[in-house]
């Protein structure tokens, strides 16, 4: 199954994949061999090939999350060879290509591991804890109405850029998976600072940060110790400056908000 490129040499790989029947079952790593993998394939396409083989031989295919396969939706996950979204920086698993591996490699594939992300099956985890943090305050309640005129609300370019950078978070959960403490601070900080920087977000600014941090703690995520592995593994490059901003927002909200 070599790709279109006549120069690419098909690869044979050994995969160690985490198999787990359901949330309560005990999982373990199973070893599989995949043959004739094109270097042009994405990592998920390689898993598709393996799943087709498993189906043909009457075995249960491996469950893994995926959707757009264009690196924009945040649905894919996977802890590949000890790294969230695999060894390549700034890339989601769906955009990771097999040319980053060598023929004969052994690849270990595990799900995101954190108590707030229970394993549903095999490599698929439930990340709705992040949705609940978002629901706790990651919105603005302004009248959306019609489309406003451009530049009706003046926002300095540098602020707009920073808010946009924070808004690129795709909620994939790699930050939690990579963090030694299983902390969701990078995710929460991106959502909080995106809205705190923009005029539309100022209305609920203090209540938002208080509620989102409270929800983050309720969900059972760990605390941030500024290790930095989250930002290093983030596929869209959310920076640690956002965590500093979250801390700043939280401290000032706690000191000045009306919420007792």
């Amino acid at each position: 199954m070599a790709g279109n490129n006549p120069n690419s040499k098909p690869m044979n790989l050994t995969l160690k994949v985490w198999r787990q029947k359901n949330t309560k079952a005990t999982g373990r790593l199973e070893t599989y061999q995949v043959k004739d993998i094109s270097p042009e394939m994405s990592f998920l396409e390689m898993l598709d090939v393996l799943n087709e083989d498993l189906l043909r031989s009457g075995q249960d295919p491996i469950a893994f999350d995926h959707d757009c396969r264009e690196g924009i939706c945040g649905m894919c996950s996977l802890y590949i060879n000890g790294r969230a979204h695999g060894p390549e920086r700034g890339t989601t698993t769906c955009q990771l290509h097999m040319r980053k591996f060598a023929d004969g490699d052994t690849i270990t594939i595990e799900p995101w591991r954190a108590t707030p992300f229970p394993i549903l099956k095999d490599l698929a985890v439930d990340r709705s804890a992040l949705d609940r943090i978002q629901q706790a305050g990651g919105y603005i309640s302004v009248n959306t109405g019609g489309v406003p005129d451009a530049n009706e609300i003046p926002i300095p370019k540098s602020i707009a850029d920073k808010a946009f950078d924070a808004a690129t978070c795709i909620q994939c959960g790699a930050c939690v998976a990579a963090c030694k403490n299983g902390s969701a601070m990078l995710f929460t900080s991106a959502k909080v600072s995106q809205l705190a920087m923009l005029p539309q977000g100022k209305v609920e600014r203090k209540t938002r940060v208080e509620n989102m941090v409270a929800q983050m703690d309720i969900e059972g995520f760990g605390s941030c110790t500024n290790i930095g592995s989250c930002a290093a593994e983030c596929p869209v490059g959310i920076s640690l400056e956002n965590i500093a901003m979250l801390n700043r927002e939280f401290i000032s909200a706690k000191l000045t908000s009306e919420n007792l």
Binding site: R113, K180, A244, L246, I251
Partner: protein, 228 residues
């Protein structure tokens, strides 16, 4: 829960306490280091007068209580957070490469802190306890009798294993500060492209100079009196 309790039992609130107490302890390290430089005064009089002042001055004695509270909060809050964090990943990764995305010292603050705590207990038992509750020899300096703590310190630093404990304790402190100093500012939300690079560089400088300064004292007396 009141807003106050909610703030300081949240993960960020607890971390703010770790950070504030950590920076306070950094300021203590500077005072302690500068004061102890008087050990290098050969006669020992300067050090004995200084330690007498530290043991009797009411402001210093009050700060001593604040210092104990600082250590207490720093250790307690860090312990609570560490235990929470250890529970977040009940099943560990079979294959993990954290060294690809983070520093060793950042990931091992609890271990480093524990080494420092063990060192601190040995250190306090040997010097603080003996200075305050023991009965060192008295030495006359300009007509007044002082406890001769200088000799206690110098004699301790003639023991090779004691010097080794001190040097290891300071190495752990160095790594702890290398992460901790700059991390404290990040936790307080103080991150800005104008001054964060300076904080990081100064933190690295601080984490080398302060432990090296402390380690120089046992090494000086051991090398001067035992090796040479």
């Amino acid at each position: 829960m009141s807003w106050f309790t909610k703030t300081f039992t949240s993960t960020i609130g607890r971390k703010v306490l770790v950070s504030v107490t950590g920076l306070f302890l950094c300021s203590f390290l500077v005072v302690h280091l500068v004061g102890n430089l008087q050990l290098f005064n050969e006669t020992g009089d300067a050090f004995n007068i200084y330690s007498h002042f530290m043991a009797t001055n009411p402001i210093i004695r009050t700060m001593e209580i604040v210092l104990v509270l600082g250590f207490g909060f720093h250790i307690y809050e860090a312990l609570v957070l560490t235990r929470r964090n250890q529970n977040v990943r009940k099943v560990d990764y079979a294959y993990n490469r954290p060294e690809d995305n983070s520093n060793w010292s950042s990931r091992n603050m609890g271990l480093l802190g524990t080494v420092i705590l063990v060192f601190l207990i040995i250190h306090l038992y040997n010097f603080f306890w003996r200075a305050r509750f023991g009965e060192p020899n008295l030495i006359p300096i300009e007509g007044t009798e002082y406890d001769d703590l200088y000799s206690v310190v110098v004699q301790s630093f003639h023991l090779w294993w004691y010097v080794l404990i001190y040097v290891l304790g300071q190495i752990a402190l160095g790594f702890h500060l290398y992460h901790g100093f700059q991390s404290a500012f990040q936790t307080l939300g103080l991150n800005h492209k104008k001054y964060t690079p300076f904080i990081q560089k100064f933190g690295a400088f601080f984490s080398i100079v302060v432990p090296a300064g402390f380690a120089s004292m046992p090494l000086y007396f051991f090398i001067k009196d035992v090796v040479l």
